[in-house]
Subunit: 225 residues, 4 copies
Amino acid sequence: MTDLRTPAVIVNFKAYSEVEGDKALRLAQTCQEVAERTGVGIGVCPPATAIAKIASAVDVPVFAQHVDPCKPGAATGRLTAQLLRGAGAAGTLINHSERRLRLADIGAAVDMCRSNQLTTVVCTDTASTSAAAASLRPDLIAVEPPELIGGDISVTDAQPEVIENTVTAVRRIDDGIKVLCGAGIKTGRDVKRAVELGAYGVLLASGVVKAADPVAVLADLVQYL
Amino acid sequence: MTDLRTPAVIVNFKAYSEVEGDKALRLAQTCQEVAERTGVGIGVCPPATAIAKIASAVDVPVFAQHVDPCKPGAATGRLTAQLLRGAGAAGTLINHSERRLRLADIGAAVDMCRSNQLTTVVCTDTASTSAAAASLRPDLIAVEPPELIGGDISVTDAQPEVIENTVTAVRRIDDGIKVLCGAGIKTGRDVKRAVELGAYGVLLASGVVKAADPVAVLADLVQYL
Amino acid sequence: MTDLRTPAVIVNFKAYSEVEGDKALRLAQTCQEVAERTGVGIGVCPPATAIAKIASAVDVPVFAQHVDPCKPGAATGRLTAQLLRGAGAAGTLINHSERRLRLADIGAAVDMCRSNQLTTVVCTDTASTSAAAASLRPDLIAVEPPELIGGDISVTDAQPEVIENTVTAVRRIDDGIKVLCGAGIKTGRDVKRAVELGAYGVLLASGVVKAADPVAVLADLVQYL
Amino acid sequence: MTDLRTPAVIVNFKAYSEVEGDKALRLAQTCQEVAERTGVGIGVCPPATAIAKIASAVDVPVFAQHVDPCKPGAATGRLTAQLLRGAGAAGTLINHSERRLRLADIGAAVDMCRSNQLTTVVCTDTASTSAAAASLRPDLIAVEPPELIGGDISVTDAQPEVIENTVTAVRRIDDGIKVLCGAGIKTGRDVKRAVELGAYGVLLASGVVKAADPVAVLADLVQYL
């Protein structure tokens, strides 16, 4: 059954041309279709401009790609936790490698999201920054080893210890925090291996978004979950 | 008649609690109502999460509060000109005082918006930064003297020369660029005076957004346009 | 005896006009004088432009106010750990409230400093960001509760629990990391109380730098250490 | 004769390992030697930690690589115009491609430098951002076309029009501002051609700093000036 709070798979739409205009809605519908067919919790992470439409039209948890650590007020060009919640978001990524935040701002953002019932996924790059993020008490941590981002290397072949070390380090701080593997996931076998190493799920992007047949790719990726 | 490309009045919704959820749509409808009644071009500038709904439901030009100077692609948490255009935006603010950009990024953002048919409003703080911005060829420049932002002082009482100097400096570079007065506008009389000093219109925010009766306030503000 | 690696008192010179030109050197000599007289380890933290001269002329540990998380190379306007070390610095502040860094950059900066034998003092704002910083393994953590920075309130009167909670949270992660109290220290009694609450020492600034008689103020502050 | 205010050649030491410790001083002495021998004005641009020593020991104009647009005060990790002046700097780069600033901050930085008798060199990337920078009235503008930075292509072969267009655009705003060519300069012939195209001089970096024989390289570069 789809877990609206902490889906095991989150598809990050980024700012790819494949999700401009109505295409984001269609990709979200694809994710819903695979989620319903397979029973795997799949969340979507569209650009901010597409959150409201997807949240009202599709039955999948919608995550923002970023939240600004600002209170409601004079904050032009910023998206508060309240604005995301008001648009229908279920949660948000925080500190993605393409949108890094300062340490104090991550702490503030997590707190603001918690007060607004948004699930938080803090992105990190190493086992030690994952441990650091764990002290801020997010719901999930997505570790993205920089050397695997955007490449063709599979994390489970190249660096299985990154996942294991991250899971161990995070559990030492707070064993209620779930770890996602956020890079180096190419196939269903990678997902399976990540879960065997202790990950709760995966954060995906181009492999799904830019796929010629996203349904097939996504179905393959979640098959062992 | 409402000018969809360069409205004389733009209402910046910022991230105020008054525009969370469906409230942004209602404020946009208020702006449309006053625009139709008075014949003054009024644009709205909602949070990114509200652009698509307003653009599809309300007949006013919709401006984003910010655009990231990024190409479509792996740019998590960023809004490209293409994404804004795909959501139905007519234009965008760039370099607002609450969301400053680097000089090279302003130039890149203006160029990207131009290629995507988005009207550009570059915000500046002095006559000399306005002249600098003019060399980047935006459609409009909104000058916001820092000492007037958020205060109770009227620009036309306190610093009429800021508007005059900005208009002169911008025209010297490119007399096709329109100047908005972006701070210190409290009443219709201020708007009138700003226009007499050479401004094309005004960029408003809290005075309208936080008003008990936005229709009355907005109608008062645009009465001499 | 002066501890060159982890002094119990660090005086942050900031960018005050009181430390321009040769005045930074004279203030460092004042710190040395009090350190020698009292036997308390006192480090100085001058602007980057003054590090080399102080390090060669005064026998106190010299800390930089900031290090950039960059490798040696094409990094104009950046100060690497190697450059600081080459100038004679013994260590550096990282992530001061006036110079915040992104989480991943704090981790990278701490690692780069460790490789270059620089003592690291990571500044934080709450007990939870202090715990987060502890996972990055700096030598010291200086907690600066934002509500006390630059104010007249004494931390030990207003918020003794911030120190206690921070010390507890940091020790839980790594009990080899020393905690400095970085704000709200006005008198020797405050220093004494901070130490009783578990702090190793204090990070001082305006109270010393802008004092009419820095020797007297500093001597008062360190009297119970 | 060496022009202390606006040298025709500025050597940017960046953060290369070749300028760590005392090596920055020796490279500055090399620049002085070539300047005296050839009569060409050569400025040096060392890391901030080396400014004071070079300024007191070598008779060349010393430029900082960056200035923070801050007033003297509580600005930890920032270098004000006053601190640079106090360390003996004659001027500073502003907005280098490796240390970009926001538009309003460039304006503020230029003004603060002018008040502190520091020569300003604003770096830009295109003819239009150069025109923008010219409205802020720096002493010099160094244009660095991004496609030429760090590459092996010579500006005068690949893009002579960038220099011409920049010179034209800057003169249109203020013909007292001198233009430096900041990338794509490999040989004395390139320098000669840049000057024929209207440049006042050049901003150099790795070609000199990382050279096996900096004296020979620098002497070759300035031979036609």
